[in-house]
C-alpha cells in the first residue's frame, strides 16, 4: 500500500483486492492536519462520520484541546479502517471562524447577539402564547438527518407529548422517506433487510439510481476491491449519468427521467416470463403474486423501451443479469426516491427480491439506502412522520403503549391523522395556520424545492422562525431567533447508518463560545415549558446523552428496532453493532427476515399501507383481509407519465444531485479547504450532442431556467443522457453577496431555484429529478473551465477539456495495513 495518497485526486484510494466470500481486508486511512506528527496526538476519540449515511467509524485525533485529524477504525464492520474524502477533511469545518457562538434575536429587522436566557425565554413565551391562542397545531418542528438519536428522541417526546403537535418531521423527508415507505409497503415495517456484508457474497449487484461511488464512497471501495479480486460481481447500473458505477457495470441503463416504474415493471415481466422465480419462497412468504404477474404481463421490454428510451435488448440483458444471479444485492437511492413515482418504483425492487427469493441470506441483500448519517434515527425515534419505535398511528394499542412509555394519556399523543410531513408543514406555514416553526440542523432555504416559494414562506412576518445551527446559514438569516449549536466531536450521542449499524460518537473537544449541544437546547426548552406527565412529574426525565439513550431503549423495547441489548459501554467496546440487539440477539442482527417475514402481522406492523399511485391510506380491515398472516406484500403499480414534461419553451429534463466532495447544503464541506477547492462552485452538465447542437462548450456560463426560477453556472460537457441537464444541489448563497438568496449582484446559484413543488403521494418525498428547463448562453467561457470535478460522474467527455481535480500536498492521506494500535474503550471521552 502507498504511504501517502492525494485523496482528492484519488478519492477511493489504493485497492486491496479480495475474493468472493472472503472478509474485506482492513486498510487504515489517517489524515492529520499539516505539521501534526502522529506522536503529538494526545487522545484518539471514538466516533463515526456524519457526512453521509455509511457510518464510517473513525477516531478523532485531539492535541492541545483541538481536533487535529481523523483515523479510520479497522475494527469496525462498516469501513474496516477506510475513510472517504468527506470523512478525512470535513472535520476541519468545526473550527471555522464563522461558527455561531452566541444566540441571535431579530430586533428592528436585524439579527443581534443576546444571551441564552433571553433567546430561550422568547421561544418559550411565543410557544405558550400560540398554545393558548391557537392550539398545538400552530407549532411545528423541522429537524435534520444529522443530529444524534438522543436528540431526535427528546424532540419527538417534547413535540408529540409536550406540545401535542402533529407537525414534526425531518429533512430526511427530502432524502429517504421513500426508503422507509417502500419498506413499510412491502414488509409492513421500516427496517433495512440487508447488510453491507452482503457485498462480500453477491455475484450480482444492481444499483438503481444509486451513485454509490459518490454517496457512500467507502462501500464503493469495497466493491472496487471485489472487482479486482477473485470471482468478482457483475454490476447493473441504472443511472442517466456516466457515473463510476456505470463505467464498471456489465449493463448500464440510462433511462429518461421519471420512468423507473416502467423499467422495473419490464424487469419483473421478464423475470416472471422466464420463470426465474422462487415458487417456494413466494408461496411461503408473500401475498399478491398473481396480481403482480397479471399487472406486469403486458410490460414487455419493448413497451418499456419506448417509455424509457433505452434499447429493449439492454433491458433484456439487465433482466437476465438480475434474473440469473445466484446472490443478488440491490441498492436504491435518489434516482428512484426523488423521482416520479418514487415509492411505486422502490417497491418494485422489493418485489424483484421477493419473487426471486433473494432475502435473508448472505449475498441476497436488499438495501433501500439512506442519504443522511442519522436518517435511520429520525425514522425510528419518531422525529419524522412516524411514531417512535415504528409504532403504527392507526393502531390504538400501539398508541396506548407509547403513552404508557411516556406516562401520558393516549389522547395526549396526536394520532387522529398521520404525522404531518415536511412539505405539508411548509404549506401550513404558507397559508398561515402554522405560526411557529423550529428548524434544527437543516437548511431548507437551499435544500427544499422551489426556493423562491420557500424564502417567501420563511420571511413572513407572522411566522416565528427558530433556527438552530452551526453557522449563519441561508435559513438562519431569515430567522427570528438563531440558536448556536455544538456539533459532531463537540457532543456525545449515538447514530445509526443505512445498514442498521449503531455507533457511538464521543465528545472530543469543547464547542466554540456559548454553542450548546442540540440535546441541551431541547432539554432547556422542555424545562422552560414545564412539560408534565399524567401524574404531574416531569415529562422528560433524562438530562444527558447516556440517560436519553437509556430512555430510548425503554421506548424501543419489543419493537423491531430494539436497542435494549446496547449500551454506551458496549458500543465503546465493540464499535458498530446492528439492531435489533436484545436478549434474543445480544450480538446484534446482520440480516432481517432470515426466518420469514417478522413484522408485517396486522397487530405488529408500522403501517397498513397506502395506495402507491394516490397515497390513500388503507385501513386495518383491508390490511387484515389482504394479509392476515403478516407476509411480505407484492404490490404492483402502473406507470404514470411524469407531471412535467419538456416542451418547446423548456425543452430539457432537469435533474439535481450530489457530488462526492460535498454534503447536503455544503455548510460543512464548503468550509473544509480540500473539499471546497475540489468543487468550489455550481456547474451545469449537458450531453455532448446537445452541446454541439447548441454550439456550447466547456466552461461557457449558462443560465438554466424553469417555470419557477433560474440559476447560472459554467457548463461541463459529459456523457450524460441526451436531453437531460444535471445541476448539483449543494450550492447556496452564504458565501455570496446575496447571503440568503439571489440578489441584485447575485444571480441564482441554487439548483432548487428551478425545481418543482411536487411530491410522491405515498412517501411525500419531493421530486427533484423531473423538472423541465431551458438552457441559454450567458457568456463564453473563453478557456475558463467549469468548476466541476473531473474525478467523478461530472468528468468531461473529452479527456483534457479541464485540468484534473487534485488536492496536492494538503490532501495527502496515509493508507496503512492495520498495525497494533489501541482501539480499547479507554479512548472514548467520558
Amino acid at each position: 500500500m502507498e504511504d501517502a495518497t492525494d485523496r482528492i485526486a484519488r478519492p477511493w484510494g489504493t485497492r486491496v483486492p479480495y475474493g468472493r466470500h472472503e472478509t474485506w481486508p482492513a486498510r487504515v486511512d489517517t489524515f492529520l492536519a499539516e505539521g501534526v506528527e502522529p506522536g503529538a496526538v494526545r487522545r484518539w476519540v471514538q466516533s463515526a462520520s456524519i457526512l453521509h449515511s455509511d457510518g464510517d467509524a473513525m477516531d478523532i485525533a485531539v492535541a492541545d484541546g483541538r481536533m487535529v485529524g481523523v483515523r479510520g477504525r479497522d475494527v469496525d464492520r462498516v469501513n474496516r479502517g477506510r475513510l472517504g474524502p468527506k470523512d478525512l477533511f470535513g472535520w476541519q469545518a468545526n473550527a471555522s471562524r464563522d461558527r455561531l457562538t452566541r444566540p441571535l434575536v431579530r430586533r428592528d429587522g436585524q439579527l443581534v447577539e443576546t444571551d441564552w436566557d433571553t433567546a430561550m425565554d422568547l421561544v418559550a413565551a411565543r410557544s405558550r402564547e400560540l398554545l393558548d391562542s391557537r392550539g398545538p397545531g400552530s407549532i411545528g418542528f423541522y429537524t435534520s438527518g444529522q443530529l444524534f438519536l438522543e436528540e431526535y428522541y427528546t424532540l419527538a417526546v417534547l413535540a408529540r407529548a409536550g406540545i401535542g403537535t402533529n407537525h414534526l418531521d425531518g429533512n430526511t423527508r427530502l432524502c429517504t422517506a421513500t426508503a422507509a415507505e417502500a419498506l413499510k409497503e412491502t414488509f409492513g415495517c421500516d427496517g433495512q433487510p440487508g447488510s453491507y456484508d452482503d457485498f462480500d457474497h453477491a455475484d450480482v449487484v444492481a444499483l438503481f439510481g444509486h451513485n454509490i461511488a459518490e454517496t457512500q464512497p467507502v462501500q464503493w471501495m469495497r466493491l472496487l476491491d471485489r472487482l479486482e479480486g477473485a470471482d468478482p460481481p457483475r454490476l447493473l447500473c441504472v443511472d442517466p449519468r456516466p457515473t463510476r458505477v456505470a463505467e464498471h457495470a456489465a449493463v448500464h441503463l440510462a433511462p429518461r427521467s421519471g420512468t423507473n416504474v416502467a423499467l422495473l415493471n419490464a424487469l419483473l415481466h421478464e423475470t416472471i416470463r422466464h420463470e426465474r422465480i422462487d415458487r417456494d419462497f413466494i408461496d411461503a412468504h408473500t401475498v399478491g403474486f398473481e396480481e403482480l404477474a397479471a399487472r406486469v404481463a403486458d410490460c414487455t421490454p419493448k413497451w418499456a423501451a419506448e417509455i424509457c428510451d433505452v434499447p429493449a435488448a439492454r433491458i433484456e440483458e439487465a433482466a437476465e443479469l438480475v434474473g440469473t444471479a445466484e446472490a443478488l444485492v440491490s441498492t436504491v437511492l435518489q434516482g428512484v426516491y426523488q423521482s416520479h413515482q418514487a415509492t411505486a418504483a422502490a417497491v418494485q425492487v422489493n418485489n424483484l427480491h421477493l419473487i426471486r427469493g433473494m432475502l435473508g441470506r448472505p449475498g441476497a441483500g436488499l438495501l433501500q439506502m439512506n442519504g443522511q448519517p442519522t436518517a435511520q434515527n429520525t425514522r425510528e425515534c419518531g422525529a419524522n412522520g412516524d411514531l417512535p419505535g415504528f409504532r403504527n398511528w392507526q393502531n390504538d394499542a400501539h398508541v396506548a403503549d407509547l403513552a404508557r412509555v411516556w406516562n401520558v394519556e393516549p389522547e395526549t399523543v396526536p394520532h387522529f391523522a398521520p404525522p404531518t410531513h415536511a412539505m405539508q408543514i411548509f404549506r401550513y406555514a404558507e397559508q398561515g395556520s402554522l405560526r411557529m416553526l423550529w428548524i434544527s440542523g437543516t437548511n431548507p432555504a437551499v435544500s427544499m424545492p422551489e426556493l423562491p416559494r420557500i424564502r417567501s414562506i420563511l420571511s413572513q412576518e407572522r411566522l416565528f422562525t427558530v433556527v438552530q445551527d452551526l453557522y449563519l446559514t441561508e435559513t438562519a438569516r431569515l430567522a427570528d431567533v438563531v440558536l448556536p449549536a455544538a456539533t459532531w466531536g463537540e457532543k456525545t450521542g449515538a447514530l445509526t447508518n443505512a445498514d442498521r449499524t449503531v455507533h457511538l460518537s464521543c465528545k472530543a473537544v469543547e464547542p466554540p463560545g456559548e454553542a450548546r449541544p442540540d440535546l441541551d437546547i431541547f432539554l432547556d426548552y422542555a424545562r422552560r415549558m414545564d412539560f408534565r406527565d399524567k401524574d404531574g412529574g416531569p415529562l422528560i426525565t433524562w438530562d444527558d446523552p447516556e440517560s436519553a439513550f437509556e430512555a430510548w431503549k425503554r421506548c424501543s423495547a419489543g419493537r423491531p428496532c430494539d436497542y435494549t441489548g446496547l449500551s454506551y459501554a458496549r458500543l465503546r467496546d465493540t464499535s458498530g453493532t446492528q439492531w435489533p440487539c436484545d436478549d434474543r440477539a445480544p450480538e446484534g442482527t446482520a440480516r432481517l427476515y432470515t426466518d420469514g417475514i417478522s413484522w408485517a402481522h396486522p397487530d405488529m406492523c408500522e403501517s397498513y399501507g397506502k395506495d402507491l399511485e394516490t397515497g390513500a391510506s388503507q385501513e386495518v380491515v383491508e390490511y387484515r383481509s389482504l394479509n392476515p398472516d403478516g407476509r411480505a406484500m407484492l404490490k404492483a403499480a402502473a406507470y404514470l407519465p411524469p407531471h412535467e414534461e419538456p416542451d418547446e419553451e423548456y425543452p430539457f429534463q432537469l435533474t439535481t444531485g450530489r457530488t462526492l466532495y460535498h454534503f447536503h447544503t455544503r455548510t460543512k464541506t464548503g468550509r473544509a479547504p480540500q473539499l471546497n477547492d475540489a468543487a468550489p462552485d455550481v456547474w451545469v452538465e449537458v450531453s455532448a450532442g446537445d452541446a454541439e447542437r447548441l454550439g456550447l462548450g466547456e466552461g461557457d456560463l449558462v443560465e438554466v431556467t424553469s417555470r419557477r426560477g433560474s440559476l447560472r453556472g459554467r457548463l461541463r460537457v459529459t456523457g450524460i443522457r441526451t436531453g437531460l441537464l444535471f445541476v448539483p444541489f449543494h450550492y447556496g448563497y452564504w458565501d455570496t453577496a446575496g447571503g440568503s438568496g439571489p440578489g441584485p449582484d447575485t444571480p441564482g446559484r441554487a439548483a432548487n431555484e428551478t425545481t418543482v413543488t411536487d411530491w410522491d403521494p405515498a412517501s411525500k418525498q419531493p421530486l427533484f429529478k423531473t423538472a423541465s428547463a431551458a438552457l441559454t448562453l450567458v457568456e463564453r467561457g473563453g478557456g475558463r473551465p467549469s468548476p466541476a470535478p473531473t474525478t467523478t460522474a461530472s468528468a468531461p467527455v473529452a479527456a483534457g477539456a479541464a485540468p484534473p481535480t487534485s488536492g496536492g500536498p494538503a490532501a495527502r492521506t496515509t493508507e496503512q495495513e492495520p498495525t497494533e494500535f489501541p482501539h480499547g474503550h479507554e479512548e472514548g471521552a467520558r
Binding site: 397545531g137 404549506r427 397559508q431 394516490t614 391510506s617 404514470l640 411530491w759
Partner: protein, 163 residues
C-alpha cells in the same frame, strides 16, 4: 333502450362529470400541490373509463360521446389558477378545499354505485364483456373515493381548528 344501456349512459355521464370536477379542483387548488397533482392523475382514470364505456356501448349499438379534452379548459382554467395563486397565503381556501373534496367523494361514490349495478346486471345476464368492463374500472373508482377520504381526514384537523 334497456336498463343496461341506461346504466352505461348514466355512468358515462358520471365519469365525465368526475373527470371535469377533478380537473377543476386541480386548477382551483394549484397551491395545494398534492391535491393538484393527484387530482390531475385521477381525472385520467375517469377519462379512460369513459373511453371503455363508449367502446362497450358501441358494441351494443349505443352511441356515447367522445371524452372531452379537459387538459386545457381555456380562459376559465387560467382564471382559476390565478385565483388560487392570489390566495396562497390565506387560510380560508382550506374550507373550500374540504368542500371540493367532499363533492368529489360524493361524485365518485355515485359512480361506484352505478358500477356496482352494472356488474350485478352483467352477472345476471352472463355478459362477460360487461363484467370485464366493470371489474377493470370499478376498483379505480373505489381508489378515487379512498383518496378523497384520506385527504379529508388528513387536512380537516388543521383547517377546521385554525380558523
Amino acid at each position: 333502450m334497456n336498463g343496461i344501456d341506461l346504466t352505461l349512459r348514466t355512468l358515462h355521464r358520471g365519469e365525465r362529470h368526475l373527470a371535469h370536477d377533478l380537473v377543476t379542483v386541480a386548477e382551483r387548488h394549484r397551491t395545494e400541490h398534492e391535491v393538484h397533482h393527484v387530482a390531475t392523475d385521477l381525472a385520467r382514470w375517469s377519462r379512460e373509463h369513459m373511453r371503455q364505456l363508449a367502446e362497450t356501448a358501441a358494441e351494443r349499438g349505443v352511441k356515447l360521446g367522445e371524452p372531452p379534452d379537459h387538459s386545457t379548459d381555456g380562459v376559465f382554467a387560467t382564471l382559476r389558477e390565478k385565483a388560487s395563486e392570489a390566495v396562497v397565503h390565506r387560510p380560508e381556501p382550506g374550507l373550500l378545499l374540504l368542500r371540493d373534496l367532499r363533492e368529489l367523494h360524493v361524485r365518485a361514490a355515485e359512480n361506484s354505485l352505478h358500477w356496482e349495478m352494472l356488474s350485478q346486471a352483467a352477472q345476471a345476464s352472463r355478459d362477460s364483456a360487461l363484467l370485464t368492463l366493470a371489474s377493470s374500472c370499478h376498483p379505480q373508482t373505489l381508489r378515487q373515493m379512498r383518496w378523497t377520504n384520506t385527504m379529508i381526514k388528513n387536512l380537516a384537523p388543521q383547517v377546521l381548528t385554525s380558523l
